[in-house]
Amino acid sequence: MEPLLTIQAPEAALFWVLAPLSVIAALGMLLVKKAVHSALLLAWVMITLAIFYIAQDAVFLGIVQIIVYTGAVMMLFLFILMLVGVDSSDSLTETISGLRPIAITAALGFGGLLVSLLGHATLGREPVGLAEANGPGNVQGIAVLLFSKYVWPFEVVSALLITAAIGAMVLAHHQRSNVRPTQREQAVNRFRSGSLAGAAGLPGPGVFARHNAVDVPALLPDGTPAPSSISATLKARGDVIDSSQFQLDNVDTTVKEEK
């Protein structure tokens, strides 16, 4: 009897090209140092998965995967990364002793056993394929199921979604415990603090007439650099240029006579 489902050569080729890439990208997620890179690698894994979905006749899911996951969820991740993680350097050295060998051993055992188990597992029949089920169209088929058989879970999940949204708002909401000082009060405080150095506000970055980049600390009138003139993020990243080279002392100050 002819099998109901045969996987065509193009799909096999697609699989053999993309599957290793996705595995490599997933491993890369573990190994790269910067969280942003991890996020990008995960986005790649998700895109490959979306391609696999489409290849397996799950067109709707493939599209949702790209739009919702790769688009919305990963954007959310990146957004939070920007909010939180830019200046947090992530070291890969393990601090909990013995955890890494345990994790790797367990994972190898888990993965190995799972793969071996899947190799032995039989479904009791040949793969059917979705040609029939997708007869009126994949989206229509899912819609029929979603609004008939799975309507109750669907409603519950919608409630969950709303609850999650409210929960995120509650969690992220920041109640001020003290009254925010007004501009007038800030000004008064500046003048009353020990030195008058900051009374006029923080200096802007750049060295007048020499260098105006945002990563160059300003020079104070006495010639010393002012670190407070630079964004804290740049400082944390270490993207700060030494501004002492732009001090006037090192510059040829002799006035050339103009003819």
Partner: protein
């Protein structure tokens, strides 16, 4: 049977005294002793009244009863709290209340300077009440209540000066050794209930004929154990000497009127049991014979006047138990000896107290001597008691002891010769050691320090002694006149079997007097005619050393019972600590250990928890893998 509602007053009066003196506390300090004495005397008066009523009735209707209340009523088993007053009980009642009252009077003076005199009198009244309940109960169960009450009162009185550790130990020793006897009595009650279905004297008497001899023997032996414990007979005699820790009136009360006589009472009261169990009866006689020699031998070596008298009590009670073991022929003489003994022994103990009173509480006879001149009244009363106890005619002891010896000799066969010979030998030894006491205390040269000021005791003390001395002189003659006491008690006992007389009575008396004369002569030679050291000499025979240490009774008890008991106890303690506590602690330790080792996994790091989940998932997959393979 005649009922009489007056019996309860015999017990109620002293019991009321005890309860009120104890409850009123310090408020009764000023007059408590007078109340107690009056109540005791009142009880004696009730006893006399009952006696007069009893004498007015014919022999058949002399016993009277009074039901107080229904105590236990379970199915067919009924025990009433009721009292029985018959010829035997009334003898005891009069002895207990009469001698007891004299001792009360004596104690008023003797304990005059003790801050706790009221408490002392409360205990004395309690003792009297308990002893009366013991002799008036109409069943073994009622008797048992009095029996335990006597044990409690003796414990309280022996340890009256319990601020001294040794005295407190002595009272504890008496109590514990009594417990062994009490166990025997409770077993006897159980046997009676289980095999005869009744615990009343009349019920057991009725059924005794139909019960098997084995049952009666078991019952008899249990009763004997009870009597042995309470009457300080061999092998439970060790507490008696130490019981001298109590104030001297207590010793007089314990030795003469109450406590130790309870065992004799129990055996005589249970005559129907022993008559039905000849083996048990023989055992009673043997125990008595052993004890009378045992006590007499200890008496020869004691320098403590009270301990010498205590040893003599042990020996004399041995005579009574021997008599009670001779069956119907001996019961009456055992009780007669008990009564005469009550007079002369109480008199001598009170005399000893009087001597101590005059000698700054010195008890060592080797520090006495020549007190005859300083305490003439004590000397005379004590001397009359002495003549009574060694059995010189016509003093009381002669009649009672002579009859016991005679009955023992006539018991028949080898048994009679052995028991009678023992009794004769005991009479000789008694004469020796009592003479020794007399000589050391009163007639030998003085050995006391010059700072002693011996003096006669006040009238309140010597009057009771004098009354008791009169009793010591005449009671034997009165009771034996025309075998009056024997006939008085006869209706209670079975008819004695006929025995051929081994020796004619006059010969027995002659033999006994010869033994007494020999004993007295040896003592006179040894103590009156030769110098006596004021400290006990050490270069004496091995036997004397043994006797001074009570024939090693304490050592034997310790070796046989105490040490193994302690070993078992400490082994049990070790087992308890190691096995049982170990198991309990082990479970606790296991919980703590597993808890603390599990706690290590709780690092607080989310990632380690995640790792554990991963391991668990791997294990789960492995399990599925194993199952599906």
């Amino acid at each position: 049977m005649v009922t009489n509602s007056g019996l309860v007053y015999l017990i109620a009066l002293p019991l009321f005294g005890a309860v009120s003196l104890l409850l009123l506390g310090r408020r009764a300090d000023k007059w408590g002793h007078l109340l107690a004495t009056a109540l005791s005397a009142g009880s004696f008066a009730v006893g006399l009244f009952q006696l007069s009523q009893m004498l007015g009735r014919d022999v058949e209707s002399r016993p009277v009863t009074q039901k107080l209340f229904t105590w236990i009523s379970v199915g067919s088993f009924n025990v009433d709290a009721s009292l029985l007053l018959d010829q035997l009980s009334i003898s005891f009642v009069l002895l207990i209340t009469g001698v007891g009252t004299l001792i009360h009077i004596y104690s008023i003076s003797y304990m005059a300077h003790d801050p706790d005199r009221r408490r002392f009198f409360a205990y004395l009244n309690l003792f009297i009440a308990a002893m009366l309940l013991l002799v008036l109960g109409d069943s073994y169960l009622n008797l048992y209540v009095g029996w335990e009450g006597v044990g409690l009162a003796s414990y309280l009185l022996i340890g009256f000066w319990n601020q001294k550790a040794a005295y407190a130990t002595a009272s504890k020793k008496a109590f514990v050794m009594n417990r062994i006897g009490d166990m025997g009595l409770s077993f006897a009650i159980m046997i009676a209930f289980a095999s005869l279905g009744t615990v009343s004297f009349s019920g057991v008497k009725e059924k005794a004929e139909f019960a098997s001899e084995a049952t009666m023997t078991a019952l008899g032996i249990m009763l004997l154990i009870a009597a042995v414990g309470k009457s300080a007979q061999f092998p439970l005699q060790a507490w008696l000497g130490d019981a001298m820790a109590g104030p001297t009136p207590v010793s007089a009360l314990i030795h003469a009127a109450t406590m130790v006589t309870a065992g004799v009472y129990l055996i005589v009261r249970s005559n129907f049991v022993f008559d039905a169990a000849p083996n048990a009866q023989l055992l009673v006689a043997i125990i008595g014979a052993i004890t009378l020699i045992f006590g007499a031998l200890i008496g020869t070596a004691k320098d403590d006047i009270k301990k010498a008298l205590a040893a003599s009590t042990m020996s004399q009670i041995g005579y009574m138990i021997l008599g009670a073991g001779l069956g119907p022929a001996g019961y009456a003489y055992a009780i007669m000896h008990l009564i005469t003994h009550g007079f002369f022994k109480a008199g001598m103990f009170l005399g000893a107290g009087s001597v101590m009173h005059g000698m700054n509480d010195e008890v060592n006879m080797r520090k006495y001597g020549a007190l005859r001149k300083f305490m003439p009244i004590t000397f005379v009363t004590f001397g009359l008691g002495y003549l009574a106890i060694i059995g010189v005619p016509p003093f009381a002891g002669f009649y009672s002891k002579d009859m016991l010896i005679e009955t023992a000799l006539n018991a028949g066969g080898v048994k009679g010769i052995l028991l009678g010979g023992t009794a004769l030998l005991g009479a000789g030894i008694t004469a020796f050691y009592m003479t020794r006491v007399m000589i050391l205390t009163f007639t030998s040269p003085k050995r006391w320090d010059d700072n002693q000021r011996p003096h006669e005791s006040p009238a309140l003390m010597w009057i009771p002694m004098a009354i008791l001395a009169v009793g010591s002189v005449i009671s034997g003659y009165l009771l034996h006149q025309g075998k009056a006491f024997k006939h008085w008690l006869e209706p209670l006992f079975a008819k004695p079997g006929e025995h051929s007389e081994l020796l004619p009575p006059i010969v027995v008396s002659g033999l006994a007097l010869t033994m007494v004369a020999i004993g007295v002569a040896i003592a006179v030679v040894k103590y009156q005619l030769s110098e006596v050291d004021s400290v006990a000499p050490e270069n004496v025979t091995e036997f004397t050393h043994f006797a001074r240490r009570d024939l090693l009774q304490d050592e034997i008890n310790e070796a046989l019972f105490m040490r193994p008991g302690q070993a078992i106890t400490s082994a049990l303690v070790k087992i308890d600590q190691s096995v049982i506590d170990g198991a309990v602690r082990g479970i606790g330790q296991m919980a703590i250990g597993s808890g603390s080792s599990l706690r290590k996994s709780q690092t607080g790091f989310v990632r380690s928890y995640a790792a554990l989940i991963l391991v668990g998932a791997a294990a789960l997959i492995a399990a599925i893998w194993v199952v599906t393979q």
